[in-house]
Amino acid sequence: MPFKFFFYLIALFVLYSAYFVVTARNLFRSAMGLLAVLIGIAGMYLLLNAQFLSAVQVVVYIGGIVVLMVFAILLIADVTQKVFEQSPRWRQGLIGAASLLWFSLLAGSMLSYRFGAAAAAVDKSGSIREIGRALLSPAAGGYALPFEVISLLLIAALVGAVTVARADADNGEGKEGKA
């Protein structure tokens, strides 16, 4: 059963890395842990024959979002030197309970949902041409409208992020040396 073997192997890897992300005392190490989690998830997509999704996962999350995080960590002086204190016991317990509740809600809703109808789409998801056609088809069953909305969303994200970041940049300048 190579499929099951790889599935559990990757699952174990992802879970351990995720645990590492939340328990690491150093932000940079946390980011590296997140990198491992995302690589594992990309591997999982590949295992499920969603090759396009897997590649997108690598390009956007690993090559984009984690790089952004690493950048933020490196640019803020001293943040990796800081060792964060462990939260008190009661708060840890509370967080544990909350995550358990969330997990059971998620698992419950997933298990009660019937995935039968989606099965037909699965074989097509490997083919990028099909994705392109479905994404851009203005006819019924296409996703042209959501696609356009994505570009609006991206623009809004761009404008918002740049505005916020620039405001911070202007405040910070002058006080300390530039490099």
Partner: protein
């Protein structure tokens, strides 16, 4: 060869796979070694020197001597570094170059075996992923060294690499509009109808853009910001010595070879030549080997071009670099996509 054909298909697959991995790794190492010597000799020619010519005939054993030397140097770890990352970074920086080569068809076929390590149908998307991983080797090296120059070099080159990654991604989009596939073998098929079916001629703008970004992604002059000697004293690898430094050094050349192989595959027809029927999959073993030779020759030509550029051009300033990337290459790449789309539309 009959015993090969009698083998179980699974075993045959495994055997050829192991062989291909082995050959690819050894070939890459040899190529890296001789790219280094090529660079040194070419630089010497350009600067009217002789260059290394003492070790072996014509200095051809020089890479071996360099290897032994870096191996015997004191394996020295400065006191202030972050140990784990310090050890990991030199290894990590080699990985992307090796992984890129996995999807590149380096010949048509030998016998019935296609000469590509992994023929993926998401081909180019996979290489995009690998390219975006390339950032981490440099960031980790900068962070691990825990020292000002490497740190600044690491940050600078990350910003540079991500900026040019966009231009690179946008530059190749028209290739897929024409070829209609992401699989690199298909793209070579598309280019196998005469010299002018090569995408370098069909999509000159894309070719030039991709060529420029290739320099930037491999941190070669005129984009060698991370190691700007006169400002950063060597950049992200300043604190490294012995074999670990050698890994950074080799990785630079391995990346050059990988990106050259990409360019050859995407724009220069891969293993094909438009004459003597060399643009069809090989009918026998000799033609198969010849096509591997053609591929290597094209890669060597592009690598030589990159080396030649390094010794002819000065370096960009950082603001010029960013300006070129964001305010020139990306708008041109976007306009190129729209232009090609309209052109294809008019044609059909």
């Amino acid at each position: 060869m009959t015993w090969l054909n009698q083998l179980d298909p699974t075993w045959q697959f495994l055997l050829f796979s192991a062989l291909k991995v082995g050959v690819a790794v050894v070939a890459l190492l040899t190529l890296v070694a001789y790219t280094v010597i090529l660079e040194r000799r070419l630089a010497a020619c350009i600067q009217d020197r002789i260059g290394p010519n003492r070790v072996g005939p014509l200095g051809l054993l020089q890479p071996l001597a360099d290897g032994v030397k870096s191996f015997l140097k004191e394996d020295f770890v400065p006191g202030h570094v972050r140990k784990i990352y310090f050890w990991l970074a030199p290894a990590l920086i080699m990985i992307p170059a090796l992984l890129t080569l996995a999807v590149i068809p380096f010949g048509s076929r030998l016998g019935s075996q296609p000469l590509v390590i992994a023929d993926l149908n998401v081909g180019i998307l996979y290489t995009f992923g690998i390219v975006s991983l390339g950032v981490y080797g440099i960031v980790l090296a900068g962070y691990a060294a825990n020292s000002k120059y490497p740190f600044l070099g690491g940050i600078r080159s990350t910003a540079q690499m991500i900026s040019y990654e966009i231009a690179m991604g946008l530059a190749v989009i028209p290739v897929f509009m024409l070829a209609g596939d992401l699989n690199l073998s298909r793209i070579i098929d598309y280019q196998s109808h005469g010299l002018f079916s090569w995408l370098a001629f069909k999509l000159p703008v894309s070719f030039v853009l991709f060529g420029i970004t290739a320099f930037a992604e491999t941190n070669r002059t005129p984009f060698d910001m991370p190691e700007a000697e006169n400002e950063l004293a060597g950049g992200y690898n300043v604190e490294y010595g012995s074999m670990k430094f050698a890994m950074f050094f080799m990785a630079e050349y391995a990346n050059m070879i990988a990106v050259s192989a990409m360019i050859v595959t995407l724009f220069l027809g891969g293993w094909t030549l438009p004459w003597f029927g060399l643009d069809r999959p090989a009918a026998n073993l000799w033609v198969g080997l010849l096509q591997v030779g053609i591929f290597l020759g094209k890669v060597a030509a592009w690598v030589s071009f990159m080396i030649w550029t390094r010794w002819m051009l000065p370096r960009f300033r950082y603001d010029q670099l960013m300006k070129l990337g964001w305010e020139r290459l990306i708008p041109v790449a976007l306009a190129n996509i729209v232009g090609i789309a309209v052109w294809l539309w008019m044609k059909s």
